[in-house]
């Protein structure tokens, strides 16, 4: 059951992910988060690295990022550690940006994206070695 509040939140993020990533926006993100991977929350680069260590990410590990937005931190972690990642979120707009960035980083062979809520993800049980998310609606 999707509540009105959840619908409003999704609509807000859909609109935000569709906004232009202008140089000033990237500059602010670099100053606050330490990188320009599309973060709009509170997870810094150092904290993303903590997630990678906690999950033992390396080449061959299959990770799922729930509520991935524009790919932060799942895409960054895949590029940094060599793991495979499925980025999932309801808004399509952010995932499209993430896939473009994956291609720029020459990581597109290890990165996939699925526009879906966590509850409806089309994967068999036990598909992933690791699941990550940051400040998403539970």
């Amino acid at each position: 059951m999707v509540t009105r509040e959840e619908r409003d939140t999704r609509e807000r993020f859909r609109n935000r992910y569709g906004e232009d990533r202008t140089e000033v926006v990237l500059q602010i993100e670099r100053a606050v988060i330490g990188g320009d991977w599309g973060a709009n929350g509170y997870t810094t680069m150092a904290q993303a690295d903590l997630l990678g260590t906690a999950l033992g990410l390396e080449r061959g590990v299959r990770m799922l990022d729930l509520g991935a937005g524009r790919g932060w931190p799942g895409l960054y972690l895949a590029v940094r550690t060599g793991c495979d990642v499925v980025l999932s979120d309801v808004p399509f707009e952010g995932l499209r940006l993430a896939l473009a960035r994956a291609a720029d980083e020459r990581a597109d062979g290890r990165v996939a994206a699925v526009a879906s809520s966590a509850r409806a993800l089309p994967f068999r049980a036990g598909t992933f070695d690791a699941v990550v998310h940051t400040d998403v609606l539970c």
Binding site: Q47, A54, L55, G56, G126, H133, D135, V136, L137, C138
Partner: protein, 128 residues
């Protein structure tokens, strides 16, 4: 979310996530304010640790990250304020002001001790 994580993880697989939550032990009035002012991910009265254990995770480790949360939240406010004109041009002045107000209200709730942010790491238990 956690039940979906458990289903999709192999036995022994791990989850790691950050979550913003109301401080434990708040009065009902302050708890309502915490929910109103923050992007509180978990509406349940149970802690993240309890939710993880109920969802079938074991070896749950929690690390408080609230001080970094304050630093980053303040940095968003300050950096955006420094770029007010450029951002207002991109977003529109009303939207810029609305986002800054939202950030400031949330930051104040953290400073007032209503909200905390934690890193949770846990392992998917064997099938029961």
């Amino acid at each position: 979310m956690l039940r979906a994580s458990r289903r999709l993880l192999r036995p022994g697989g791990r989850t790691a996530f950050f979550t913003i939550h109301p401080t434990a032990g708040l009065s009902p009035r302050l708890r309502r304010r915490a929910h109103r002012d923050g992007p509180v991910a978990v509406a349940s009265h149970l802690s993240s640790r309890e939710l993880l254990e109920r969802a079938g995770f074991v070896d749950v480790e929690e690390t408080d990250c609230t001080s970094e949360f304050v630093t980053v939240a303040q940095a968003w406010v300050d950096q955006c304020e420094d770029q007010r004109d450029a951002l207002a041009e991109v977003l529109g002045a009303d939207e810029f002001d609305e986002r800054q107000t939202e950030r400031r209200i949330q930051l104040q709730a953290v400073r007032d001790g209503l909200l905390r942010r934690s890193l949770l790491v846990a392992t998917r238990g064997d099938d029961r």
